[in-house]
Symmetry: C2
Subunit: 265 residues, 2 copies
Protein backbone atom coordinates (compact mmCIF):
# COMPACT_ATOMS: atom_id res chain seq x y z
CA UNK A 1 0.00 0.00 0.00
CA UNK A 2 1.36 3.43 -0.98
CA UNK A 3 1.98 6.01 1.72
CA UNK A 4 -0.26 9.07 1.62
CA UNK A 5 0.99 12.63 1.88
CA UNK A 6 -0.16 15.19 4.44
CA UNK A 7 0.48 18.78 3.36
CA UNK A 8 0.15 21.31 6.15
CA UNK A 9 -0.62 24.54 4.30
CA UNK A 10 -0.63 28.18 5.41
CA UNK A 11 -3.64 30.09 4.07
CA UNK A 12 -2.26 33.55 4.85
CA UNK A 13 -4.28 36.40 6.41
CA UNK A 14 -7.39 36.20 4.21
CA UNK A 15 -6.83 37.75 0.77
CA UNK A 16 -6.45 34.80 -1.65
CA UNK A 17 -3.76 36.74 -3.55
CA UNK A 18 -1.62 36.47 -0.42
CA UNK A 19 -1.40 32.67 -0.75
CA UNK A 20 1.96 31.39 -1.96
CA UNK A 21 2.19 29.71 -5.37
CA UNK A 22 3.20 26.53 -3.56
CA UNK A 23 0.06 26.61 -1.41
CA UNK A 24 -2.17 27.21 -4.44
CA UNK A 25 -0.61 24.32 -6.38
CA UNK A 26 -1.08 22.06 -3.37
CA UNK A 27 -4.76 23.01 -2.98
CA UNK A 28 -5.31 22.31 -6.67
CA UNK A 29 -3.78 18.82 -6.36
CA UNK A 30 -5.07 17.60 -2.99
CA UNK A 31 -7.90 15.04 -2.81
CA UNK A 32 -9.33 16.43 0.42
CA UNK A 33 -8.84 19.71 2.29
CA UNK A 34 -9.43 19.96 6.05
CA UNK A 35 -9.78 23.64 6.96
CA UNK A 36 -10.04 25.95 9.97
CA UNK A 37 -12.42 28.73 10.93
CA UNK A 38 -9.66 31.27 10.25
CA UNK A 39 -9.46 30.36 6.56
CA UNK A 40 -11.41 32.93 4.54
CA UNK A 41 -14.25 32.09 2.17
CA UNK A 42 -12.27 33.70 -0.65
CA UNK A 43 -9.37 31.30 -0.10
CA UNK A 44 -11.74 28.32 0.03
CA UNK A 45 -13.14 29.41 -3.33
CA UNK A 46 -9.75 28.55 -4.92
CA UNK A 47 -10.17 24.85 -4.11
CA UNK A 48 -11.55 22.90 -7.10
CA UNK A 49 -15.25 22.07 -6.78
CA UNK A 50 -14.53 18.32 -7.09
CA UNK A 51 -12.27 18.36 -4.01
CA UNK A 52 -13.74 17.18 -0.72
CA UNK A 53 -13.75 20.05 1.77
CA UNK A 54 -14.06 19.32 5.50
CA UNK A 55 -14.56 21.98 8.16
CA UNK A 56 -12.65 21.20 11.36
CA UNK A 57 -12.64 24.70 12.77
CA UNK A 58 -12.40 25.74 16.33
CA UNK A 59 -13.64 29.10 17.52
CA UNK A 60 -12.44 30.73 20.68
CA UNK A 61 -14.74 29.45 23.44
CA UNK A 62 -16.64 26.91 21.33
CA UNK A 63 -14.49 23.98 20.33
CA UNK A 64 -16.17 22.21 17.46
CA UNK A 65 -13.54 19.49 17.18
CA UNK A 66 -10.70 18.88 19.59
CA UNK A 67 -7.13 18.41 18.43
CA UNK A 68 -7.21 14.65 18.94
CA UNK A 69 -10.30 14.36 16.75
CA UNK A 70 -8.61 16.41 14.00
CA UNK A 71 -5.51 14.19 14.18
CA UNK A 72 -7.70 11.09 13.82
CA UNK A 73 -9.60 12.64 10.93
CA UNK A 74 -6.34 13.25 9.05
CA UNK A 75 -5.35 9.59 9.47
CA UNK A 76 -8.81 8.41 8.51
CA UNK A 77 -8.86 10.47 5.26
CA UNK A 78 -5.28 9.43 4.45
CA UNK A 79 -6.50 5.83 4.27
CA UNK A 80 -9.00 6.77 1.57
CA UNK A 81 -7.00 9.42 -0.34
CA UNK A 82 -3.36 9.72 -1.43
CA UNK A 83 -3.11 13.45 -0.72
CA UNK A 84 -4.63 15.16 2.32
CA UNK A 85 -4.18 18.93 2.72
CA UNK A 86 -4.63 20.57 6.08
CA UNK A 87 -5.28 24.28 5.54
CA UNK A 88 -4.70 26.65 8.44
CA UNK A 89 -5.01 30.45 8.62
CA UNK A 90 -1.78 32.46 8.48
CA UNK A 91 1.33 30.32 8.85
CA UNK A 92 0.64 26.75 9.99
CA UNK A 93 3.49 26.70 12.52
CA UNK A 94 2.72 29.95 14.32
CA UNK A 95 0.31 29.65 17.24
CA UNK A 96 -1.38 26.74 15.57
CA UNK A 97 -0.89 23.17 16.60
CA UNK A 98 0.47 22.23 13.20
CA UNK A 99 3.50 20.51 14.67
CA UNK A 100 1.28 18.12 16.63
CA UNK A 101 -0.56 17.18 13.45
CA UNK A 102 2.68 16.59 11.57
CA UNK A 103 4.09 14.43 14.38
CA UNK A 104 0.91 12.38 14.60
CA UNK A 105 0.80 11.85 10.84
CA UNK A 106 4.44 10.77 10.75
CA UNK A 107 3.85 8.33 13.58
CA UNK A 108 1.14 6.79 11.41
CA UNK A 109 3.47 6.45 8.44
CA UNK A 110 2.39 9.38 6.29
CA UNK A 111 4.73 11.53 4.24
CA UNK A 112 4.53 15.10 5.45
CA UNK A 113 5.35 18.56 4.15
CA UNK A 114 4.83 22.06 5.52
CA UNK A 115 4.04 24.99 3.23
CA UNK A 116 4.62 28.36 4.89
CA UNK A 117 1.99 31.08 4.76
CA UNK A 118 1.96 34.80 5.35
CA UNK A 119 1.36 34.99 9.08
CA UNK A 120 -1.15 37.67 9.99
CA UNK A 121 1.28 38.74 12.72
CA UNK A 122 3.80 39.78 10.08
CA UNK A 123 1.88 40.15 6.84
CA UNK A 124 -0.90 42.38 8.12
CA UNK A 125 1.40 45.11 9.46
CA UNK A 126 3.24 45.09 6.10
CA UNK A 127 -0.07 45.06 4.22
CA UNK A 128 -1.08 48.23 6.07
CA UNK A 129 2.26 49.95 5.62
CA UNK A 130 3.35 49.45 9.23
CA UNK A 131 7.04 48.49 9.39
CA UNK A 132 7.83 46.13 12.27
CA UNK A 133 11.38 47.39 12.50
CA UNK A 134 12.59 50.97 12.26
CA UNK A 135 16.22 51.97 12.01
CA UNK A 136 17.44 53.41 15.29
CA UNK A 137 14.12 52.90 17.15
CA UNK A 138 12.79 49.35 16.91
CA UNK A 139 15.52 46.94 16.00
CA UNK A 140 13.41 43.89 16.67
CA UNK A 141 9.83 42.70 16.86
CA UNK A 142 8.18 40.28 19.23
CA UNK A 143 5.08 38.27 18.40
CA UNK A 144 3.20 37.01 21.42
CA UNK A 145 -0.16 35.98 22.72
CA UNK A 146 -1.69 37.89 25.58
CA UNK A 147 -2.62 34.94 27.72
CA UNK A 148 -1.18 31.60 28.72
CA UNK A 149 -2.97 28.26 28.91
CA UNK A 150 -4.57 29.27 32.22
CA UNK A 151 -5.87 32.44 30.49
CA UNK A 152 -3.50 34.67 32.47
CA UNK A 153 -1.31 37.42 31.07
CA UNK A 154 2.01 35.82 30.21
CA UNK A 155 5.25 36.81 31.94
CA UNK A 156 6.90 37.52 28.59
CA UNK A 157 4.63 40.55 28.26
CA UNK A 158 6.69 42.13 31.07
CA UNK A 159 9.96 41.68 29.21
CA UNK A 160 8.26 42.76 26.01
CA UNK A 161 7.05 46.03 27.55
CA UNK A 162 10.60 46.79 28.77
CA UNK A 163 12.29 45.99 25.47
CA UNK A 164 12.53 48.29 22.47
CA UNK A 165 10.79 45.72 20.26
CA UNK A 166 7.74 46.45 18.18
CA UNK A 167 5.09 44.18 19.70
CA UNK A 168 2.50 42.18 17.80
CA UNK A 169 -0.04 40.61 20.10
CA UNK A 170 -2.37 37.89 18.87
CA UNK A 171 -5.47 36.61 20.63
CA UNK A 172 -5.34 39.67 22.84
CA UNK A 173 -8.20 41.94 21.89
CA UNK A 174 -10.41 40.71 24.73
CA UNK A 175 -7.60 41.43 27.21
CA UNK A 176 -6.90 44.88 25.78
CA UNK A 177 -7.41 46.79 29.06
CA UNK A 178 -4.90 44.56 30.87
CA UNK A 179 -2.39 44.76 28.03
CA UNK A 180 -2.60 48.55 27.90
CA UNK A 181 -2.16 48.77 31.67
CA UNK A 182 0.94 46.56 31.55
CA UNK A 183 2.46 48.51 28.68
CA UNK A 184 1.81 51.86 30.32
CA UNK A 185 4.03 50.81 33.25
CA UNK A 186 7.05 50.81 30.90
CA UNK A 187 6.18 52.70 27.72
CA UNK A 188 5.07 56.21 26.91
CA UNK A 189 1.32 57.01 26.96
CA UNK A 190 1.74 58.57 23.51
CA UNK A 191 3.11 55.29 22.17
CA UNK A 192 1.36 54.38 18.92
CA UNK A 193 -0.91 51.33 18.82
CA UNK A 194 -3.02 49.78 16.07
CA UNK A 195 -5.92 47.34 16.29
CA UNK A 196 -6.65 45.29 13.17
CA UNK A 197 -9.80 43.23 12.66
CA UNK A 198 -10.51 41.11 9.54
CA UNK A 199 -7.23 42.33 8.09
CA UNK A 200 -6.82 42.23 4.29
CA UNK A 201 -10.52 41.37 3.83
CA UNK A 202 -13.27 43.69 2.56
CA UNK A 203 -14.71 43.79 6.10
CA UNK A 204 -11.41 45.06 7.54
CA UNK A 205 -11.33 47.57 10.38
CA UNK A 206 -8.15 49.32 11.51
CA UNK A 207 -8.05 51.60 14.53
CA UNK A 208 -4.98 53.75 15.12
CA UNK A 209 -4.41 55.43 18.46
CA UNK A 210 -2.08 55.80 21.40
CA UNK A 211 -1.79 53.81 24.60
CA UNK A 212 -3.65 56.62 26.39
CA UNK A 213 -6.73 56.67 24.16
CA UNK A 214 -6.95 53.29 22.45
CA UNK A 215 -9.46 51.80 24.91
CA UNK A 216 -11.82 54.67 24.29
CA UNK A 217 -11.38 54.39 20.51
CA UNK A 218 -11.90 50.63 20.58
CA UNK A 219 -15.14 51.01 22.50
CA UNK A 220 -16.36 53.87 20.32
CA UNK A 221 -15.76 51.95 17.09
CA UNK A 222 -16.93 48.59 18.43
CA UNK A 223 -13.71 46.74 17.89
CA UNK A 224 -14.23 43.05 18.52
CA UNK A 225 -12.14 39.90 18.53
CA UNK A 226 -10.41 38.14 16.88
CA UNK A 227 -7.89 40.75 15.90
CA UNK A 228 -4.26 41.70 16.22
CA UNK A 229 -2.63 44.47 18.23
CA UNK A 230 0.49 46.28 17.02
CA UNK A 231 2.49 48.55 19.34
CA UNK A 232 5.39 50.62 18.05
CA UNK A 233 6.50 53.70 16.15
CA UNK A 234 5.92 51.95 12.83
CA UNK A 235 2.17 52.32 13.43
CA UNK A 236 2.60 56.04 12.68
CA UNK A 237 3.58 55.15 9.12
CA UNK A 238 0.15 53.64 8.53
CA UNK A 239 -1.00 56.91 6.99
CA UNK A 240 1.94 56.87 4.59
CA UNK A 241 0.18 54.27 2.50
CA UNK A 242 -2.42 55.44 -0.01
CA UNK A 243 -5.42 54.22 1.96
CA UNK A 244 -8.54 56.14 2.66
CA UNK A 245 -8.82 56.79 6.36
CA UNK A 246 -11.60 58.31 8.37
CA UNK A 247 -10.33 60.64 11.04
CA UNK A 248 -12.19 60.51 14.30
CA UNK A 249 -14.15 63.70 14.91
CA UNK A 250 -13.21 63.79 18.56
CA UNK A 251 -10.28 66.16 19.25
CA UNK A 252 -7.08 64.33 20.13
CA UNK A 253 -3.67 65.35 21.39
CA UNK A 254 -1.96 64.45 18.15
CA UNK A 255 -3.15 64.03 14.56
CA UNK A 256 -2.32 60.34 14.86
CA UNK A 257 -5.62 58.80 15.83
CA UNK A 258 -7.77 57.68 12.97
CA UNK A 259 -9.88 54.80 11.93
CA UNK A 260 -10.36 52.92 8.73
CA UNK A 261 -13.64 51.19 8.16
CA UNK A 262 -15.29 49.54 5.20
CA UNK A 263 -16.80 52.20 2.93
CA UNK A 264 -20.57 52.26 2.66
CA UNK A 265 -21.44 50.59 -0.63
CA UNK B 1 0.70 63.69 -16.41
CA UNK B 2 -0.46 60.43 -14.87
CA UNK B 3 0.98 59.39 -11.52
CA UNK B 4 3.19 56.30 -11.56
CA UNK B 5 2.86 53.43 -9.12
CA UNK B 6 5.64 52.09 -6.90
CA UNK B 7 5.03 48.51 -5.74
CA UNK B 8 7.27 47.42 -2.90
CA UNK B 9 7.30 43.64 -3.24
CA UNK B 10 8.50 40.87 -0.91
CA UNK B 11 10.41 38.15 -2.77
CA UNK B 12 10.27 35.60 0.04
CA UNK B 13 13.19 33.43 1.21
CA UNK B 14 14.40 32.20 -2.21
CA UNK B 15 12.21 29.41 -3.60
CA UNK B 16 10.06 31.06 -6.32
CA UNK B 17 7.09 28.92 -5.26
CA UNK B 18 7.13 30.81 -1.97
CA UNK B 19 6.22 34.07 -3.70
CA UNK B 20 2.64 35.20 -3.17
CA UNK B 21 0.23 35.25 -6.10
CA UNK B 22 0.00 39.01 -5.65
CA UNK B 23 3.77 39.41 -5.93
CA UNK B 24 3.91 37.25 -9.06
CA UNK B 25 1.10 39.21 -10.74
CA UNK B 26 2.87 42.46 -9.91
CA UNK B 27 6.21 41.26 -11.35
CA UNK B 28 4.42 40.21 -14.52
CA UNK B 29 2.86 43.65 -14.94
CA UNK B 30 5.65 46.01 -13.87
CA UNK B 31 7.65 47.96 -16.46
CA UNK B 32 10.87 47.90 -14.47
CA UNK B 33 12.03 45.87 -11.46
CA UNK B 34 14.71 47.17 -9.09
CA UNK B 35 16.05 44.25 -7.06
CA UNK B 36 18.35 43.42 -4.15
CA UNK B 37 21.22 41.01 -3.66
CA UNK B 38 18.99 38.86 -1.44
CA UNK B 39 16.55 38.12 -4.27
CA UNK B 40 17.34 34.68 -5.70
CA UNK B 41 18.13 33.98 -9.36
CA UNK B 42 15.16 31.64 -9.47
CA UNK B 43 12.79 34.43 -8.45
CA UNK B 44 14.32 36.80 -11.00
CA UNK B 45 13.68 34.17 -13.68
CA UNK B 46 9.91 34.75 -13.19
CA UNK B 47 10.17 38.32 -14.46
CA UNK B 48 9.27 38.59 -18.17
CA UNK B 49 12.30 38.91 -20.44
CA UNK B 50 11.00 42.21 -21.84
CA UNK B 51 10.95 43.85 -18.39
CA UNK B 52 13.86 46.09 -17.47
CA UNK B 53 15.74 44.60 -14.49
CA UNK B 54 18.03 46.82 -12.43
CA UNK B 55 20.35 45.52 -9.71
CA UNK B 56 20.54 47.88 -6.73
CA UNK B 57 21.86 45.37 -4.23
CA UNK B 58 23.87 46.03 -1.17
CA UNK B 59 26.04 43.36 0.38
CA UNK B 60 27.15 43.41 3.98
CA UNK B 61 30.42 45.38 3.98
CA UNK B 62 30.34 46.48 0.35
CA UNK B 63 27.60 48.95 -0.36
CA UNK B 64 27.05 49.07 -4.09
CA UNK B 65 24.38 51.77 -3.93
CA UNK B 66 23.38 53.76 -0.88
CA UNK B 67 19.77 54.22 0.17
CA UNK B 68 19.58 57.78 -1.16
CA UNK B 69 20.75 56.63 -4.58
CA UNK B 70 18.11 53.87 -4.62
CA UNK B 71 15.42 56.39 -3.66
CA UNK B 72 16.51 58.67 -6.52
CA UNK B 73 16.58 55.76 -8.95
CA UNK B 74 12.97 54.89 -8.10
CA UNK B 75 11.88 58.46 -8.83
CA UNK B 76 13.91 58.59 -12.00
CA UNK B 77 12.40 55.37 -13.38
CA UNK B 78 8.91 56.45 -12.33
CA UNK B 79 9.26 59.41 -14.72
CA UNK B 80 9.84 57.03 -17.62
CA UNK B 81 7.52 54.15 -16.66
CA UNK B 82 4.01 53.96 -15.18
CA UNK B 83 4.78 50.97 -12.94
CA UNK B 84 8.00 50.53 -10.99
CA UNK B 85 8.42 47.43 -8.81
CA UNK B 86 10.98 47.35 -6.03
CA UNK B 87 11.71 43.72 -5.19
CA UNK B 88 13.29 42.93 -1.82
CA UNK B 89 14.18 39.58 -0.25
CA UNK B 90 11.82 38.20 2.40
CA UNK B 91 9.21 40.72 3.52
CA UNK B 92 9.89 44.30 2.38
CA UNK B 93 9.06 45.84 5.77
CA UNK B 94 11.21 43.60 7.97
CA UNK B 95 14.77 44.76 8.48
CA UNK B 96 14.73 46.39 5.09
CA UNK B 97 14.43 50.09 4.53
CA UNK B 98 11.23 49.68 2.57
CA UNK B 99 9.41 52.30 4.59
CA UNK B 100 11.96 54.94 3.63
CA UNK B 101 11.46 54.14 -0.04
CA UNK B 102 7.68 54.34 0.29
CA UNK B 103 7.87 57.68 2.12
CA UNK B 104 10.25 59.12 -0.46
CA UNK B 105 8.08 57.95 -3.35
CA UNK B 106 4.94 59.40 -1.77
CA UNK B 107 6.70 62.71 -1.20
CA UNK B 108 7.38 62.77 -4.93
CA UNK B 109 3.74 62.14 -5.79
CA UNK B 110 3.79 58.42 -6.65
CA UNK B 111 1.03 55.98 -5.80
CA UNK B 112 2.44 53.29 -3.55
CA UNK B 113 1.55 49.76 -2.48
CA UNK B 114 3.26 47.17 -0.32
CA UNK B 115 3.00 43.44 -1.11
CA UNK B 116 3.99 41.23 1.84
CA UNK B 117 6.42 38.37 1.38
CA UNK B 118 7.34 35.32 3.37
CA UNK B 119 10.01 36.67 5.71
CA UNK B 120 12.94 34.29 6.03
CA UNK B 121 12.72 34.88 9.78
CA UNK B 122 9.32 33.19 9.86
CA UNK B 123 9.06 31.18 6.67
CA UNK B 124 12.35 29.33 6.92
CA UNK B 125 11.69 27.81 10.34
CA UNK B 126 8.28 26.65 9.07
CA UNK B 127 9.83 25.38 5.83
CA UNK B 128 12.18 23.22 7.91
CA UNK B 129 9.50 21.98 10.27
CA UNK B 130 10.62 24.14 13.19
CA UNK B 131 7.62 25.60 15.02
CA UNK B 132 8.29 29.06 16.45
CA UNK B 133 5.77 28.54 19.21
CA UNK B 134 5.20 25.42 21.28
CA UNK B 135 2.30 24.94 23.65
CA UNK B 136 3.42 25.24 27.24
CA UNK B 137 7.08 26.01 26.38
CA UNK B 138 7.47 28.89 23.93
CA UNK B 139 4.40 31.06 23.84
CA UNK B 140 6.03 33.75 21.76
CA UNK B 141 8.83 34.38 19.31
CA UNK B 142 11.16 37.31 18.95
CA UNK B 143 12.88 38.29 15.74
CA UNK B 144 15.95 40.44 16.20
CA UNK B 145 19.26 41.43 14.70
CA UNK B 146 22.42 40.73 16.63
CA UNK B 147 23.99 44.13 16.33
CA UNK B 148 22.92 47.73 16.42
CA UNK B 149 23.97 50.54 14.08
CA UNK B 150 27.32 50.84 15.89
CA UNK B 151 27.81 47.10 15.30
CA UNK B 152 27.39 46.29 19.00
CA UNK B 153 25.24 43.55 20.49
CA UNK B 154 21.83 45.08 21.12
CA UNK B 155 20.35 45.43 24.61
CA UNK B 156 17.20 43.61 23.53
CA UNK B 157 19.28 40.45 23.29
CA UNK B 158 19.49 40.54 27.12
CA UNK B 159 15.72 40.61 27.53
CA UNK B 160 15.39 38.03 24.78
CA UNK B 161 17.73 35.60 26.55
CA UNK B 162 15.71 35.96 29.78
CA UNK B 163 12.33 35.51 28.13
CA UNK B 164 10.73 32.20 27.18
CA UNK B 165 10.47 33.29 23.53
CA UNK B 166 11.82 31.30 20.64
CA UNK B 167 14.49 33.59 19.19
CA UNK B 168 15.17 34.17 15.51
CA UNK B 169 18.32 36.20 14.96
CA UNK B 170 19.06 37.75 11.59
CA UNK B 171 22.39 39.17 10.47
CA UNK B 172 24.04 37.43 13.40
CA UNK B 173 26.11 34.57 12.06
CA UNK B 174 29.35 36.56 12.21
CA UNK B 175 28.63 37.40 15.86
CA UNK B 176 27.73 33.83 16.76
CA UNK B 177 30.35 33.45 19.56
CA UNK B 178 29.05 36.58 21.32
CA UNK B 179 25.43 35.56 20.89
CA UNK B 180 26.07 32.09 22.30
CA UNK B 181 27.93 33.59 25.27
CA UNK B 182 25.05 35.97 26.01
CA UNK B 183 22.44 33.21 25.73
CA UNK B 184 24.42 30.84 27.96
CA UNK B 185 24.18 33.36 30.80
CA UNK B 186 20.38 32.80 30.93
CA UNK B 187 19.52 29.62 29.03
CA UNK B 188 20.47 25.97 29.34
CA UNK B 189 23.63 24.74 27.54
CA UNK B 190 21.53 21.91 26.07
CA UNK B 191 19.16 24.46 24.53
CA UNK B 192 18.56 23.63 20.86
CA UNK B 193 19.87 25.95 18.17
CA UNK B 194 19.75 25.85 14.37
CA UNK B 195 21.84 27.70 11.81
CA UNK B 196 20.32 28.08 8.34
CA UNK B 197 22.25 29.24 5.29
CA UNK B 198 20.72 29.68 1.80
CA UNK B 199 17.43 28.45 3.22
CA UNK B 200 14.89 26.94 0.77
CA UNK B 201 17.47 26.97 -2.06
CA UNK B 202 19.30 23.96 -3.53
CA UNK B 203 22.51 25.18 -1.86
CA UNK B 204 20.89 25.17 1.59
CA UNK B 205 22.83 24.15 4.69
CA UNK B 206 21.17 23.54 8.05
CA UNK B 207 23.17 22.84 11.20
CA UNK B 208 21.36 21.63 14.29
CA UNK B 209 23.08 21.64 17.66
CA UNK B 210 22.97 22.92 21.21
CA UNK B 211 24.28 26.11 22.73
CA UNK B 212 27.23 24.11 24.10
CA UNK B 213 28.43 22.65 20.80
CA UNK B 214 27.11 24.90 18.04
CA UNK B 215 30.31 26.92 17.66
CA UNK B 216 32.28 23.75 17.09
CA UNK B 217 29.72 22.43 14.60
CA UNK B 218 29.60 25.74 12.73
CA UNK B 219 33.39 25.75 12.36
CA UNK B 220 33.53 22.11 11.38
CA UNK B 221 30.91 22.50 8.65
CA UNK B 222 32.11 25.90 7.47
CA UNK B 223 28.93 27.77 8.16
CA UNK B 224 29.17 31.26 6.69
CA UNK B 225 27.02 34.39 6.54
CA UNK B 226 24.43 35.49 5.65
CA UNK B 227 22.24 33.10 7.56
CA UNK B 228 19.63 32.93 10.28
CA UNK B 229 19.90 31.56 13.81
CA UNK B 230 16.95 29.90 15.57
CA UNK B 231 17.03 29.16 19.30
CA UNK B 232 14.26 27.17 20.97
CA UNK B 233 12.73 23.78 21.62
CA UNK B 234 11.02 23.82 18.23
CA UNK B 235 14.41 23.21 16.65
CA UNK B 236 14.21 19.64 17.96
CA UNK B 237 11.23 19.03 15.68
CA UNK B 238 13.41 19.63 12.64
CA UNK B 239 13.92 15.88 12.32
CA UNK B 240 10.16 15.34 12.32
CA UNK B 241 10.01 16.50 8.69
CA UNK B 242 10.84 13.99 5.98
CA UNK B 243 14.21 15.50 5.09
CA UNK B 244 17.40 13.60 4.55
CA UNK B 245 19.85 14.55 7.27
CA UNK B 246 23.47 13.61 7.70
CA UNK B 247 24.34 12.89 11.28
CA UNK B 248 27.69 14.20 12.40
CA UNK B 249 30.14 11.36 13.04
CA UNK B 250 31.50 13.00 16.16
CA UNK B 251 29.90 11.57 19.36
CA UNK B 252 27.54 14.02 21.02
CA UNK B 253 25.70 14.14 24.32
CA UNK B 254 22.31 13.78 22.69
CA UNK B 255 21.15 12.45 19.34
CA UNK B 256 20.04 15.99 18.44
CA UNK B 257 23.02 17.35 16.56
CA UNK B 258 22.95 16.76 12.86
CA UNK B 259 23.61 18.56 9.66
CA UNK B 260 21.93 18.79 6.33
CA UNK B 261 24.00 19.68 3.32
CA UNK B 262 23.42 19.64 -0.41
CA UNK B 263 23.75 16.10 -1.74
CA UNK B 264 26.66 15.43 -4.09
CA UNK B 265 25.22 15.39 -7.59
Amino acid sequence: MKKSLLSLVGAGPGDPDLLTLKALKCLERADVVLYDALVSERVLALIPASTLKVYVGKRCGQHSLNQEAINELIISYSKRFPHVARLKGGDPFIFGRGQEEINYAKKHGLYTEVIPGISSAIGLPTHYGIPLTKRGIHRSFWVLTATDQRHQLGKDLDYAAQSSATLVILMGTRKLPFIVEKLLSHRDPYCAIALVQNGSLPSEKVIIGQLQDILELAAEHQFSSPGIIIIGEGVKDYAAISYEVIRTERPLNTPLSMIRQPMAS
